[in-house]
């Protein structure tokens, strides 16, 4: 590892800030494209938030929407709930995921690669059926676990109530929050050079000292990205809060936006005002993250990279049991409930006199004339979005990390913004962009429109994953290649891309999954001619037919898992950057 990499962050940036090199040209084009697709929809939101009056009718400019949004009596509580819920689940997930990532990446825990894959499966699971499964188990009146505990005499009253503040925290941890942190931390742990730890040990550092002085500083950029992504996702997430929140009178920021969109008549202006406020709230955090990441970036993969595995000794099997129990709760349990639900006459009711089980839901999905078309559209959209992301995000990440062009910070910043806006709002803004922009009108209602929307929605996560992988590569690898006479393109092709290829492939898989599952963004951009399975599933969910929706959920899960499994069988380690 170069001393520059250790002390000064990422080096090897060109001295000139702008030139007509292919790299500069590429940067300019990418900045222009990303700026157009991010800022143009946002300009619609800003403009629409200042137009006072019913949507679609003559309006006047003013602050009426902002005033009505921010004088809502319940908004203060919603903001407090959002902050406390977010902080609580992020702290719990952070502590657990650091431990889990270390176990999976740096120890001899049996079957650790497959266990890591299990967290990916958990991430792929659709939220709603999983939530219904947990309600089935933890409802304070009829939850199976509560009933079992009372039947066993361990308690006289139901000990758990999923419709509560802690219920919301728990379901978030079990669905996405913990899984995504483990997914992102594990490869970062894996890429810590063992020689750093050994040097620290020789210098007399204890375990805590190593954690404080070596591991945390090395992981700082990844930690910041993970915490920021988690916080943004928490601000945007609403499905769980929408169902578990009302019985406990818990509203959050995202459900406040949702209420405005689905109010009657809808008050879009207020929803847009809150969305912009959300962006404004997150912007300083994104900027701070960029600044800290730039200062503290540490390359860990250099010419002499080495990784050693810690021996867990007698703790090996007890720790495996704990991880298996956790993973079982996060994957096996929800999948089992989804499967069970798809064969039940009514999900959760075993006492139906005429029979509790049926194949009817499967028959109704498989015989639906829209099913096969939706399946095909899903494959087209998801594969295309994955490919586009794999082509678009690596150059963005590389240019942000490895160059010092004016505007690289802006490019990085722009990639975050779409994530901070709720899907239904960004869907409406994109709809407006597609319809307003000559040349893009043909894209509306076409699979390409959905591909663009999903690529945009997945940009923050995708770019950050590839950025993290590039930041861990020491510039000495590229310097060595260029000193040997290789051109920049050859260096990219033969050195950088092979090393970050696993990360790029992971981004492709994540994008595939996001495109198969995405509903709120897609629902406004779909048409009869182009409809993904997730939108097809929506009609069952909205009709309250969770049993049939579970059938579609299983098909979606099979698609996501299938792609991930194929990736794994072809040698892709779900710890990008693993060697």
């Amino acid at each position: 590892m170069t001393s520059a990499a250790l002390e000064g962050g990422v080096a090897a940036a060109p001295a000139r800030r702008w030139s007509l090199s292919p790299r500069a040209l590429l940067f300019a084009v990418l900045l222009a494209v990303v700026a157009f697709f991010v800022l143009y929809p946002l300009s619609f939101l800003v403009s629409a938030s200042l137009q006072v009056g019913p949507y679609g009718q003559p309006t006047t400019f003013g602050l009426g929407n902002w005033i009505s949004a921010f004088t809502d009596a319940n908004l203060r509580n919603a903001i407090v709930n959002t902050l406390t819920l977010t902080a609580t689940r992020q702290v719990i997930a952070f502590i657990l995921s650091i431990g889990l990532a270390w176990l999976l990446a740096r120890t001899n825990l049996p079957g650790r690669h497959w266990l890591e894959f299990g967290f990916w499966i958990s991430f792929f699971l659709p939220t709603l059926p999983v939530l219904v499964g947990w309600i089935f188990l933890l409802d304070s009146h009829s939850g199976l676990i509560n009933r079992a505990i009372i039947a066993l005499g361990w308690a006289s009253d139901p000990p758990f109530d999923i419709y509560s503040w802690w219920g919301i925290v728990f379901v978030h941890l079990m669905t996405n929050t913990l899984a995504v942190q483990v997914m992102l931390f594990t490869p970062a742990f894996r890429n810590i050079d063992s020689s750093l730890l050994e040097m620290a040990r020789v210098a007399g550092c204890g375990s805590l000292g190593m954690l404080w002085r070596i591991i945390l500083p090395v992981l700082a950029p990844t930690i910041l990205v993970v915490v920021l992504l988690g916080t943004i996702r928490s601000l945007e997430a609403f499905e769980i809060e929408l169902i578990l929140g009302p019985p406990a009178k818990i509203a959050v920021f995202s459900t406040a936006i949702y209420s405005h969109v689905f109010d009657s008549p809808p008050t879009y202006g207020a929803a847009f005002a809150l969305s912009i406020a959300g962006i404004a709230l997150m912007a300083p955090f994104v900027a701070a993250q960029q600044m800290i990441a730039r200062r503290r970036a540490r390359a860990t993969v250099a010419g002499k990279f080495s990784t050693r595995i810690a021996d867990l000794g007698r703790w090996r099997w007890p720790l495996l049991t704990l991880v298996l129990l956790l993973l079982g709760a996060m994957t096996v349990l929800p999948v089992a409930f989804m499967l069970l639900g798809s064969f039940m006459e009514v999900f959760g009711y075993f006492d139906v006199p005429d029979g509790a089980f049926t194949f009817g839901h499967w028959a109704s999905v498989l015989q639906d004339p829209l099913f096969l078309g939706s399946l095909w559209d899903t494959l087209v959209v998801a594969v295309s979005a994955a490919v586009l992301s794999m082509l678009l995000f690596p150059p963005i990440a590389y240019l942000v990390v490895r160059t010092r062009y004016l505007g690289r910070g802006t490019l990085d910043f722009l990639t975050w913004l779409p994530t901070t806006v709720p899907g239904i709002v960004i869907g409406l803004a994109l709809l407006w962009v597609f319809l307003k922009t000559p040349g893009l009108q043909q894209v509306y209602g076409h699979p390409l429109g959905l591909v663009l929307a999903f690529t945009l929605a997945g940009m923050a996560l995708g770019v950050q994953i590839i950025k993290a992988a590039i930041m861990q590569l020491s510039p000495e690898l590229e310097e060595a290649a260029q000193a040997g006479g290789a051109s920049w393109l050859t260096t990219m092709r033969k050195i950088v891309l092979p090393l970050v290829a696993p990360a790029v492939a992971v981004v492709g898989i994540l994008e595939f999954v996001a495109a198969t599952r995405g509903v709120s963004t897609a629902v406004l951009l779909s048409s009869h001619a182009t409809q993904t399975l997730a939108v097809f599933q929506l009609k069952y969910i909205e009709a309250g037919d969770l049993e049939t929706a579970s059938v579609v959920g299983i098909v979606l899960l099979a698609l996501s898992t299938g792609v991930a499994l194929v990736g794994r069988l072809f040698g892709l380690r779900f710890g990008f950057g693993e060697r």
């Binding site: 319940n74 309600i135 169902i243 009302p246 109704s364 406004l524 409809q531």
Partner: protein, 380 residues
Amino acid sequence: MFARVCLWLTAAALAAAAAPAVAAPVSDADWQKIVAAAKQEGKIVISYFTDTGMEPVLRQFEKETGIKVEATPGRPDAVVPKILTEQQNGQYNWDLLLQPVNNVRLVLEPAHGLEPILPFLMRPDVDDDTQWYGGLTARVPMDPLYVFNDGISDLGVGIEVDRAKVPASEVADWPDLLKPQWKGKFGVYYPGRPADLTLALTCYRPAFDSEAKWEDYVRAFFAQQPVVSAEFRTVADWLVQGRFPVVVGAEGSYLDGLVKKLKRNIVGPINQNLCGYPPTGTGRAVSVPKNPPDRNATIVFINWYLSKEVQDMLVVNFTATGVKSISRRKDAAHPDPDYQQKVLAGFQEGWLQGKGMMTESDEGLRLQRRVIELARAAGY
């Protein structure tokens, strides 16, 4: 192209000729021309509410006419802003809406995004004031009429009770829910959204001689701290699984299906229908977005949809999925004649006598919004 333009002009001329509020029926020869033009168009683009009962009907239309139905299921709160945004950017992609009326009326109608509906009714058996209970307009306060309500609803929303646990002497109507013993002990649908709970409370307004007294009741109702869920299915599950023996605003179709399957003694809505059985859709109400691209196919579909045979089919399909309504067509049947008679009597003695209230009317919507405001003030 020329032929297509000619056909369109023919149909437009026919529609224009039928422009008065109540159109003159079209002759057989002219009807055949419209059908031919519709077949030339070859398709109709429909947005329908996410009811499984509608899908067989749409397939039947394809089968009978050879005109392809490009149907997209979806809730009006997502579809309506999409259609309006398209229209305002010069794109007219939709021919027909088979949707609940709220968002159509609140968003599309004031933005001039709908076509008057009556000119689309052309067949003699359809465009006949005497063929429909309440006539073509059914006293719907809208001029011109943009939404055709082909059915009558009994507004199957309100208080649902597990009679195995709560006898009629304990809970029989709205005032009983204010008794101290029910504080925090009944479940309701989320009052932040105009849906079953706001509808039910709005329909209780006629019981009071002033709005202030009704508001006092609504305040007292929320002061009872009912437990809310934003999932109508959960509200029904609470009742059936026994978490709460009384709920308000459980969506009828799921609850009805559940009660039938489980053979439980759950009854409701037990409260009196004070909305007077207003007109609504059998499946959903019919409206036409501005400038439908397949105008002739739209005319053919609407007249087919409002025929006796299809109204019969709709009622059977929707009754099977738990949607409670009857057709306004006088010659249409219903699988449960007693129920049909009850709803018809309510319609004729209530709504048509000016006693009821349409929850989609300006007044109904204003009261629903007031319920939402009062719920918010109570912390919901």
